[in-house]
Every structure is written in C-alpha cells, then in structure tokens.
C-alpha cells in the first residue's frame, strides 16, 4: 500500500458501489423485458401471470416485513394474496427507521430471490464464492483501480464457476433439477410488479426508479449518513488490511449475476410460451415434449457410448432440437414465414421487368 492518497481516501470506496449499480441497472433492464413478455402473454396465460405476480408480491411483502423487524417496529398485520400484499407495523416509526424499512421494501425484492439461489448453490457445492485478488494489483489494492479490479475479478471468477455449473447441469440429478426449477420460478418472481387485466397504472422500470429516487430525495441526509458509514467501513478495512468492504459489495454483485441469469432463463421460457401460442391445435405441445424427451434420449445414448461431454452435449442437443422443432412447426403449421404473394410469380415479374428495361435501353442507344 503506497500511503494514503486522495484516490484511496475519496475515490476507492466508490468503486464497488459503482460496480454494483451497473449490474443492478442491467438487472432492471432484464426485469423490464420480462414484464413486457409477460404482458404479451397475459390474456392467454392468466394463471401464469397470477403466479408470477404472487411470487413478486411475496418477496416484496417478506422484504417489507424484514424491514419492520430489523427496525424493531414489529408486525401487526401481514396479508398476502395473488394481487395484493400488505404489512403494517406495530409501532409507527418515523425518521431513519422508516427510511430503512422503505429501503428493504424497494431494494430487497431485487436481491432476496437471488440470495435464496446463492444458498442453494452453496448446498450444491458450487465454487467461486471467494474473493480474488490478482497478483498484479498488490500494492495498489486499496486504490480505485485496485478495488474495481478485485470486484471485477471476484465477479468473473464467480461467473466462470456458476456458468460452468449451469452448462454442465445434470438434469437427472435431483438437486440440479430442483435448482433449475427454483431458478426459473424465482426468475419469474424477481420484481415483476403487477401484470394482468386489472392494471390500474403503468408499473415499469421508470416507475421502480422513480420510487427509489423519491426515497433518496425524500431524506438526502440519510444517504449522506449511509455514504459516511460506507467510507468508515472502507477505511476500517484498510487500516486492518482486510478486504471486507469489497467482499460485501462482491456478494451484491454475485446476487445480481444470479438474478440476471434467472431472468434470462425465465425470459427464454416465456418467449417459448409466446411463440407456441401461435401454433394451432395440439402441435403447440410438441416443443414442450421435445425438451425432456430429447434430453433423456441423449443421456441414454451417452450411457451406452460414454463421453467426456455427456452433460453439456445433452443440454445443447436438447436446446437446439427444441429451437429447430419449434421453427419447423411454425414454418409448416402456420403462415409465419410465408410472404403474402408467392416468390415464383414475383421472380417471373422481375425477369419480365428486366427484359423490358433492356429493350428500352437498347432503343435509346439506337
């Protein structure tokens, strides 16, 4: 550590905060895409939308209740339904306590589902949940660059292990299969707000951001206090030569990565539902039957002809065959890829037009 410079004193503590904010914005974007897709299929799949609404409201209500518990306000009323959740405190507290309870309400739903998945990953013995300090930054580890590098390296290390686990996931392993189900269900419930026919107001990304901004601007003093606490925590870590500060924010980064992945998978499934809705009759179920059947068949094939890439190959074949079959059904069962007029007559017309042009140009030259 090369002494205390202005970089360490002022800028370094901001590095992990900015990193988390970046990932959190990406998460918000994916939440927005999920909401858009859910809204598109809501008229045909009301139960699914109600289910996702329920998950979202459940997490929100739990976070609100946690906020009241942490601030020692107590809980007098806890109500949850598919389209509405309500938590009332025993003691009406104002000031900092109220603010902290609101922070739990607004920020919690983004991270609580991911936290549950992170615990599941620990049970599944997935590695990568450790802080990585690259050797080339030793000496400048408490500077802005050092902090952001540690944060980035930790996230990269976690992503490598996490995605390694995902692409090698064994769907015949009860634990892995359960994790995938949890990932899909929780992915659908990461703050989807309310989607349904009785929509009273537009609840989108801007609405979420507006809420958070009003929370910040409502009591700017508390944000300053929070920053001061963050700075104190950072400098305490520096004094004790520990990486607690960046470690704490790395956890938030991991949670964001898990959330984004869960949202992507949930989006893919909702997209499949949206596409299959266009297929008439019972053929629409073929892609859903393809998913488990191709996986089981490929696993059986690799059972008799073992390979080092059994799991990844089975997963790839499953995904590719589902995409291919969906495409083929769409092509032959619907008019999705058909043009309004046939291509052959158009080609004929094109040729005639070309010939005509040639004749005209010849005449002109004559």
């Amino acid at each position: 550590m090369e002494g205390y410079s202005i970089d360490i004193v002022i800028f370094a503590p901001l590095a992990p905060i900015l990193g988390v904010l970046l990932f959190w914005f990406i998460q918000l974007l994916f939440i927005q895409s999920e909401k858009y897709l859910l809204e598109k299929i809501s008229h045909k799949h009301e139960p699914l939308c109600r289910f996702t609404n329920f998950l979202g409201i459940l997490f929100q209500t739990i976070c609100h209740a946690m906020g009241y518990t942490v601030t020692k306000s107590g809980i007098s009323d806890f109500f949850i339904s598919v389209d509405y959740g309500k938590v009332s405190p025993k003691k009406e507290r104002t000031g900092l306590f109220e603010w902290i309870a609101n922070v739990f309400l607004f920020i919690g739903p983004f991270f609580i589902p991911a936290f549950l998945l992170l615990i599941s990953l620990i049970f599944l013995k997935v590695e990568g949940l450790e802080l990585v300090i690259p050797s080339h930054i030793i000496g400048t580890e408490y500077s802005f660059g050092g902090q952001i590098t540690i944060f980035g390296s930790s996230l990269y290390n976690f992503s490598e292990k996490f995605y390694g686990f995902l692409i090698n996931i064994d769907l015949l392993h009860p634990g892995h299969f359960g994790f995938l189900l949890l990932l899909i269900f929780l992915g659908m419930g990461i703050r989807p707000s309310y989607i349904g026919e009785k929509k009273h107001e537009k609840v989108d990304m801007l609405y979420d951001l507006k809420n958070i901004w009003s929370l910040i601007s409502f009591k700017p003093l508390y944000i300053i206090i929070l920053f001061i606490l963050a700075y104190l925590f950072f400098h305490l870590s520096v004094l004790l030569n520990q990486f607690w500060y960046v470690e704490l924010f790395s956890i938030f980064g991991w949670l964001s990565i898990i959330s984004i992945t869960a949202l992507i998978i949930a989006d893919a499934i909702i997209l499949l539902i949206k596409i299959t809705d266009k297929i008439p009759g019972k053929s629409r179920f073929i892609p859903y039957i393809t998913i488990p059947s191709t996986y089981v068949l490929t696993r059986m094939f690799f059972f008799y002809f073992p390979s080092d890439f059994t799991k990844i190959a089975s997963l790839s074949i499953m995904i590719l065959s589902t995409i291919l079959i969906t495409f083929l059904i769409l092509k032959y069962k619907t008019k999705k890829f058909n043009t309004k007029t046939g291509m052959k007559p158009l080609r004929g017309k094109d040729d005639e037009e070309k010939k005509g042009k040639r004749r005209i140009s010849r005449k002109r030259t004559d």
Partner: protein, 357 residues
C-alpha cells in the same frame, strides 16, 4: 335410461339449471401432494442408491435401503398428520411401506439385489395409482346449481346426495393461493341446522407427580376450547369450483332472491293488515245487510212503524265502518309512502353506481 333423462326426472317442476359443476383438477392438491411426495422421494432414493456418490453406503444391504425409505416416509407421514390433525396420512404411508415389505417377502427378493430398483418403481407405481384414485374421487363429485336449490352429489361406490334450498343459508367462501392463481375456490352453504359447520378443538393438559418411593401424589389439570368454524366434507360443499367469483356471486344472488328483504317483509305485513280490514268490512256489511233484510221484513208486516230503528242501526254500524275505512286509508297512504321512499332509494343507488363507474 340416459344420465340426462334421469337427471331431468330428478328435478322439480319449474326448476332450471343455472350451472353444473365439478371440482377443479388441482382442488384436491392436499391428496395429490401425498402422491407427489411419494414419487419425489422414490426418485431421489433411486438416484441416491444407484447413481450418486453416496451409493457405496447402501451397497450390499437390502434392509438398509428399505428401512431408510420407510423411515422417511413414516416421518413425513407423522409430521403431515400432526399438521392437518388427521392420522390417515400416517396410516396411508404405513400401508404403502408394509405392502412393499410384504411384496418383497412374497417374491423372495429380500436377499437379492432388487431393492435399489424395486423401491423407486414401486413408489412411482403406487403414486400413479394414488393419482388415479384421487382423480376418480374428484370426478365423482357433481354440483348442480338450479334456480331453486343446490344439489350436491358425490361418491363412486356409495352415492350421497344433498339438496339445499336457498332460503335461510349463509354462504361461506374460501380460496387458497393455488385457487387464487387458477381461479377456483370452495363455497360452503351453511344451513341453520348447522350443516357446513365444523369445530376446532384445543385441548391442553398437564400432570405432576410428587413424592418419594413410598407415597406419591399425582395431579392432572387440563382444559379445552371449542370454536365452530365453516368446515365440511367435499360432499357437502362446492369444493374447488371454477370460476370461483362468478359462482359465488350467482349463489349470493339466488340466496338474495329467495330471502325476503325488509321491504318485502313490510309489504307482507301491510297485505295482512289489508286482509284483516277487508274481513272486518265484510263482516260489517254482512251485519248491515242482515239488519236491512230484517227491517224490510218487519216493514212488510207492520208498515206504519216509525223510522227510529233504522237510524239506530245506522248509528250502530256507521262508526265502525268509518273506523275501518279510516284504517284502510291510512294503510294505503303508508304503503304508497313506503313505495316512494323505496323508489328514491333505488334512484340514489343507481346514481351512486353511475358515479362510481
């Protein structure tokens, strides 16, 4: 005789079917989850014993696999039984466990390496049978809502049938999370005789033993609490009907139509009073005509008698007649006033509805 014809014969005169319902496929999830657990545990054990890294723990010991499977099954059975306060779950799982042992003994598989394959397949097979039984049980329920009553029919071996009229029933509805998601719910018609009501009982008891080897003192104290709550069997309720809100509103409407409102009750009281007054009037007229007949007969016998008696009769009858007429007038006035207020209230209600919309 076709089912429809038979149904038609069972209906009353002027009875119209409003809805014919059966429980939603997911409404018996409590029973289905018992089968679901059996499948999940069977598959997990099959994976643990045959494919997992822990498979060496189970190798070479048939009894160990069987006992592990059975113990978890019974433990879950005990926990589930305690939660829902129904020991049938425990005995059901006990039956499944004992049947597995009996089957293995009968086939002489206990000393062969069969358990790792048999138990998962047996679990899945029993679960499928369980699912089928639950489905048959669900399909055996049929609820018919007519304009006069609710008919609840159930049972696939022993048929039960219950007919509930709309007057004097209270409607209770409940919807779980699954019901809210898939839009189904249970509606319990509670009758005045108490049909549709169950009881929640809480009992607490404590004991104390004091004393040494020779003398002992034993004291036991306890108490209980009982609360009546809307709860009944699926045969006596509209279990898991879809779409819940629509059906509940329909029943509420039919109940409302069958139950006389305050206005109707007042109208009936007025009509009763009117009838009484008319009776009084009729009696007075009878007396009057009798007396006039008598008088005319007497006149015919003695034509020169003075007219004082006629006046007496009129004096005797007229006040009562006037009184009755007065009462009648008042009654009609009251009735018209009541009608007007009813009209105004209805108009106000309509305005409120319009404002709200």
């Amino acid at each position: 005789m076709t089912k429809k014809k038979k149904e038609k014969e069972e209906f009353l005169e002027n009875e119209l079917i409003e809805k014919s319902l059966s429980p939603h496929p997911l409404s018996f999830m409590k029973l289905q989850s018992l089968c679901l657990f059996l499948i999940i545990w069977g598959v997990v054990l099959g994976w643990l014993v045959n494919f997992s890294e822990y498979k060496t723990l189970f190798s070479g010991n048939e009894w160990f696999i069987l006992l592990a499977w059975g113990l978890v099954l019974l433990l879950v059975g005990v926990i589930a039984s305690l939660i829902v306060i129904r020991w049938t779950i425990f005995f059901l799982y006990l039956g499944v466990f004992v049947s597995a042992i009996a089957f293995m003994i009968w086939q002489n598989w206990l000393n062969k390496d069969v358990a790792p394959v048999f138990i998962p397949f047996y679990s899945v097979a029993v679960s499928i049978i369980g699912f089928l039984i639950v489905e048959i049980y669900r399909r055996s329920h049929q609820y018919i809502i007519t304009n006069l009553r609710i008919i609840l029919m159930s049972g696939f071996l022993t048929k039960t049938e219950l007919s509930i009229r709309y007057d004097k029933i209270t409607v209770f509805g409940k919807q779980g999370i699954l019901g809210q998601i898939f839009n189904f719910g249970t509606i319990i018609p509670i009758t005045q005789s108490g049909l549709g009501l169950g009881t929640d009982q809480t009992l607490a008891a404590g004991g104390l033993m004091l004393g040494g080897k020779k003398a002992k003192l034993l004291g036991i104290a306890g108490g209980g609490k009982e609360v009546q709550t809307p709860r009944t069997r699926s045969s006596f309720e509209l279990h898991g009907v879809h779409p819940y809100r629509e059906i509940k509103n329909l029943i509420e409407k039919l109940v409302q139509e069958s139950v006389p409102t305050a206005y109707h009750q007042e109208q009936v009281a007025f009509q009763k009073q009117q009838v009484d007054l008319q009776k009084q009037m009729r009696d007075l007229l009878k007396i009057q005509t009798k007396e006039t007949n008598k008088k005319s007969a007497q006149d015919a016998e003695m034509p020169d008698e003075p007219e004082d008696e006629e006046e007496e009769l009129e004096e005797y009858v007229e006040p009562e007649q006037n009184n009755v007429q007065k009462q009648m007038k008042e009654l009609l006035k009251k009735q018209s006033e009541l009608k007007e207020t009813e009209k105004i209230e209805e108009e106000n209600e309509d305005e409120n509805v319009e404002e709200k919309s």
